[in-house]
Amino acid sequence: MKITLTGIGLWARGLTSLAGFAAASRDGFAALSEAQFEPPKPIAIPSRERRRAGLAINLGVEVAHQACDVSGIDKSSVASVFVSALGDTATTDYMCRKLSGADKLLSPTKFHNSVHNAPACYWAISADNRAPNTFVGGFLESLGAGLFEASSQAIGADAPVLLVAYDLATAPPLDEVAAIGDTLAVAFVIEPTRQAQLRQTSLAVDAKLRFVGNAVPATAPRAAALARLAATNPMGGGLALVERCVAECAKGDESGESVLRFPAGSQAHVELRLESTR
């Protein structure tokens, strides 16, 4: 699949925008080890929904808007794919604790936020977007699954697709399922290359994506401080992809390629071959 990445959004401790990421990369992310996580402010979400939204929703909506702003695409018409290994573990924990007690009456808001497509819905409301959206999962191989699904949607519809990938830091007992040390969200606008070539964008990283039937470890970021952060979250590979995109842009007209691999299932991976910048 020939795709072009035209938008990037991100939120983690010390990294809250693509511009901030590019700036931090110049000194090897020196400030990252001391940085604390601050949740995003849900400014894009209409006030009626805002009071109902939790961290997973706020994160997803924040990076979705960031990526669209970088790309310049129409927020009201882009289809979207949301992906997470564990989903909204804060809500899962609330539900299971409440249901293990004597008083099982649940908050209706927490229940409707417990569906895994809740962040996608709040994004759609915040952007007045009636295009298809979905939530996909692949447990610890979710990023590869998300890249595959978003790219196939983009090629299939010959239109941009927004990919939003996130996982929250886990607390006991759900850290038994996956010990996630840092909350992280990344988003990419993925376009069919021949569509992306029709307009000027501030970011345009061409890539060939293919599904390969053997297992490999996920590509890690090159910068050591960034790699340490990435290793704490199933979506950490997204930081490696952001890093390579920023590096591709910095190279200007130099030719060259950079290959990233993300597991997609226990015996397969998604290969992303970044080709050049325009």
């Binding site: 699949m1 929904e49 109902r52 997470s84 290994a85 564990l86 989903g87 899962t92 539900m95 299971c96 409440k98 249901l99 293990s100 099982k104 009456l105 649940l106 908050s107 209706p108 229940f111 409707h112 417990s114 569906v115 895994h116 497509n117 809740a118 996608a120 819905c121 709040y122 759609a124 952007a127 007045d128 977007n129 009636r130 295009a131 298809p132 959206n133 979905t134 939530f135 996909v136 999962g137 692949g138 447990f139 979710s142 699954a145 595959f148 196939s152 949607q153 299939g156 006991p172 007992p173 038994e176 996956a178 599904f211 390969v212 039937g213 997609a264 299932g265 226990s266 015996q267 397969a268």
Partner: protein, 386 residues
Amino acid sequence: MSAFVNAYTLTSALGNGIGALRKALRSGRSGLTDAPWPGSDVPCFLGRVDVPPDLSLPAMWHSRNNALVELALRQDAFAEAVDDIRHNLQPERIGLAMGTSTSSIDRTEQAYRRLDADGRFAAEFRQSGVHNPHAPAHFAAQRLKIGGPCVTVSAACASGAKAFAMAKRWLDQNLVDAVVVGAADSLCLSVIYGFHALQLVSPQPCRPFAANRQGISLGEAAGFALLTRERSADARELLGVGESCDAYHMSSAHPDGLGARLAIEAALADAKRGMADVDYVNLHGTGTRANDDIEGRVCGSLLAASRALASATKGWTGHALGAAGMVEAILCLDALATGFVPGTRNTACVDAPFELLLDNVEQRLETVLSNSFGFGGTNCTLVFGR
């Protein structure tokens, strides 16, 4: 590009496998019962599956939801059909697209009831592959030795339908040669108390589109279909898919059914069919006041220009949530195969602006349409043909 359904199976409150499903429908036996659910005091009827305790699942996969998956895979020689196709194809060219909303949350609930003194999961519940949204796909993929893309779609009550949409994209783009489409959702306290919190659970067996409807009856199910680009002798065709979002509210549909209409129109356009070509519509028809009112208005205007039969089948099976799209896709596929069209069980006094099929009928069908709408305003419509 074409996507053909070569094999399918369904295990639901109507029984295990297609034979049991046909028998229950023809004998007029609904799967809904008021037998109490362990740990619940919510007055309701449920469409439950009798899951035998001796399925011999490996301990790492233990959960009611995975047991449902296993039970479904043992019916109608479905796993054997996947084995057969594997002999002729590269392993990475066979994918799995799985819809679920509950995943194995039944097991996570159980783990929380049995936390150890440190507040952690007791040893038998330390099953990382089970307590996550991808669990049924993960389990089914290793059970069926799937080597290609294996992706879960979890979009509330549209999940099962959206798994078909995903599979059709993969086949259309030649990313795979075959896709196992699956869906599995299981009854658990999360859904019973969740819908109870929203005051949507009917104390009576659900009565879709009835004037005296009082809400939903929850159910559970697992089903599978095997899709390829090649047509086998008695295959049906997945003609079109349509997806949309209401962008309106988390748990209330758009009052004019804007998203529902977009999904239906997109599916018909994808299928290159008009409403006049459709012979049967399986409505989402949950039995809540709001859903049936809004879906009724959308379908009322569409069905006015159509000779299609229309029924809502959740009075038979219960609302299997993330698997509902699969249940109803298979009811549609089997109606195409047999000419037996299920009516709207439990409904007598109709409140719908179109003619609702109440009693089962026998009629040859060429083209059928199935609606699935979910929380988050997510909508998916499928069109199948002979």
